[in-house]
């Protein structure tokens, strides 16, 4: 695979939905839904894409912070992960410009939050309770993951791919495996492909159940939180019984999977799905019946269809804002072409819509897991990746949206890699959505999008 090298003019005017941008060696790469393109770096700079595609801004900052490559013609100032630490470990605050107006004040939250979540700083401009502006400062969990993956074989680097974002460990491992397999021309055995899908759907269900519960819990419905947390726990226990790890970390590897499903594992999964299916209609009814819950969720954290399209939002966030998009279908990967997957879409774009999408996806996931378990092909579970060379691009639909991995392999070792979690395009949408509601609704909005911090800090 050799992507086309475009002149600055054609690079900037390439049409399509923007997905990701990165630099490597002497080239800048941009991934659109229409394909991968490159342009040559001149003195370490390339023409910015953010004036036309606002989602590119974070990637441009990241390219500068990681590789020192500048985008020319940018309008954004702050950095992505660079905090300019002084030798004693302290860092200056970047300039946060408050929204204009009388009586507007700033509210600083984080990097450490009240709950058990990842670190990130939020700077709100508020007047009374109304949020006028939100800026997120991330980069706190930067671990240098991409640099650690370079120079390693795909099998060794898979351990890092599994730890990009722990809640989407299967999806990231899968996207990494897809990229490696594309680069090396490897086709994993059918049994591995089926079991990968079982794991990916289990992961989706575990995250959706806990997200739905957490949103309801934030709106004061502790009962729903408790019940959904119980189902999440059952799903993790079933994953452990079937694959030996509660989050199924390190199970998906380039060439296949690391271990076969255990004896009794399929039944443990089926029992869990049955219990959820039995209780789900009752729990869904609580969402529909209680005015006080509806009052908190409907109209809150609105992301319009136009805004979602401008950022090419994927996953739950995109589908709740009218975008019929799912990486399992488009571009698609095995075995979903056999699954007759139906993709739920809502147009309201609020927290309630994102809950509805999650509820609908739960039903779709347990249907597919049952089908997959009933028709597991026999045979091997993994092939060894050959020590050859190539460039590969891989995608997997995580519970929050598509994750893309790109890599270059030279005689069996990774020379360069980049990856984009769906959260990178979702964080700007969180910033926009916060401004449609009052400050007290921000936890609901943040949870309803559930963007990863680790997944963008890398």
């Amino acid at each position: 695979m050799t992507p086309p090298n475009l002149s600055a003019h054609f690079w900037q005017n390439h049409s399509g939905e923007f997905i990701a941008l990165w630099t490597s060696g002497e080239l800048a790469y941009a991934l659109f839904d229409t394909g991968l393109i490159t342009t040559s770096l001149e003195d370490g700079t390339y023409p910015a894409l953010s004036p036309k595609h606002p989602g590119a801004a974070w990637f441009e900052k990241l390219g500068q912070d990681l590789n020192g490559h500048k985008a020319s013609g940018v309008t954004h100032a702050n950095t992505a992960i660079e905090h300019f630490l002084s030798p004693n470990g302290t860092a200056p605050w970047p300039e946060f410009r408050p929204a204009p107006g009388d009586g507007v004040h700033q509210m600083a939250v984080g990097p450490i939050h009240a709950g058990i979540i990842e670190p990130g700083h939020f700077r709100f401009s508020i007047i009374g309770e109304k949020v006028l502006k939100l800026e997120a400062r991330l980069g706190y969990t930067h671990k240098g993951t991409l640099a650690l993956m370079r120079g390693k074989s795909p099998r060794n680097a898979a351990r890092f791919a599994a730890r990009i974002s722990g809640d989407a460990t299967v999806a990231h491992s899968l996207a990494f495996a897809h990229a490696t397999e594309a680069a090396l021309g490897l086709t994993p055995p059918p049994r591995a492909v089926h079991l990968r899908a079982v794991m990916a759907e289990l992961e989706r269900m575990a995250n959706h159940t806990s997200d739905i519960g957490a949103i309801a819990g934030d709106a004061g419905f502790a009962f729903l939180d408790a019940r959904f947390a119980w189902h999440r726990e059952s799903l993790c226990a079933a994953a452990s019984a079937a694959f030996g790890h509660r989050l199924m970390m390190d199970m998906v590897i380039p060439g296949g999977i690391a271990g076969d499903i255990k004896t009794g594992g399929a039944d443990a999964i089926r029992r869990t799905l049955d219990a959820l299916e039995t209780e789900l209609p009752g729990l869904t009814r609580v969402f529909e019946d209680y005015a006080s819950l509806q009052d908190r969720l409907v109209g809150t954290g609105h992301i319009g269809t136009h805004l979602a399209a401008r950022y090419a939002a994927g996953g739950v966030t995109g589908r709740a804002s009218g975008r019929q998009t799912d990486a399992r279908i488009n571009p698609g990967y095995a075995p979903y072409e056999l699954m007759e997957l139906s993709v739920p879409v809502e147009t309201e774009g609020d927290v309630a819509a994102r809950v509805k999408i999650r509820l609908a996806e739960l039903a779709e996931s347990y249907r597919m897991i049952r089908t997959l378990l009933n028709h597991l092909p026999d045979g091997q579970i993994a092939l060894a990746p050959p020590a050859t060379s190539g460039m590969g691009l891989g995608v997997a639909e995580s519970f929050r949206g598509p994750v893309w991995h790109w890599l270059n392999i030279d005689t069996g070792l990774i020379t360069d890699i980049f990856l984009a979690d769906a959260s990178t395009l979702h964080w700007p949408l969180v910033e926009h959505a916060a401004c449609t509601s009052i400050i007290a609704d921000f936890p609901l909005i943040n949870k309803s999008v559930n963007a990863s911090y680790s997944g963008v800090d890398l």
Binding site: I116, A229, W230, R271, S454
Partner: protein, 173 residues
Amino acid sequence: MVWSTLAQHLLTKPRAPREAGHSTAAALAERLQNLSNEKLGRSLAIRHVDAGSCNGCELELRAIQNMVYDLTQYGLSFTPSPRHADVLLITGVAARNMAEALRQTRAAMPDPVFTIAVGDCAVDGGVFKGSPAITGGADSILTVDLMISGCPPTPGQIIDGLLSLIEAHTGGK
């Protein structure tokens, strides 16, 4: 009417099986009952700080609060304020960008403070060991009293570790 409603309820709402990790939770509860808690009075407030994790450990920290593991039955609970906390629980690598925030959290806590590193990353940097963006595990920033390894440790392992801390400080059996 009453009887038909009652019958309907009995028929349509079977009690969900509590099989998830139940035996581990039961064993842990038994251990606590055998414990003398003179010094801590069965109450310990935990302030959690993610110093650079992949969020896997956070998922399991949330899981120890669900109704299967039910952390509060052991007198343990999470608190948002470091001022109210007895335990500083750290997950993730010691990311350079989080070092200052972590030190400030420790400084805001009243002594004595028990510091616990949860997960392989907090223990020694885990798979990220040697990265220039991190300084290693939690003990590269603060003195750590207890380490709970695992990637991520299971809820049972985390509660087991927390109870060990109580045992150690009560001269427990």
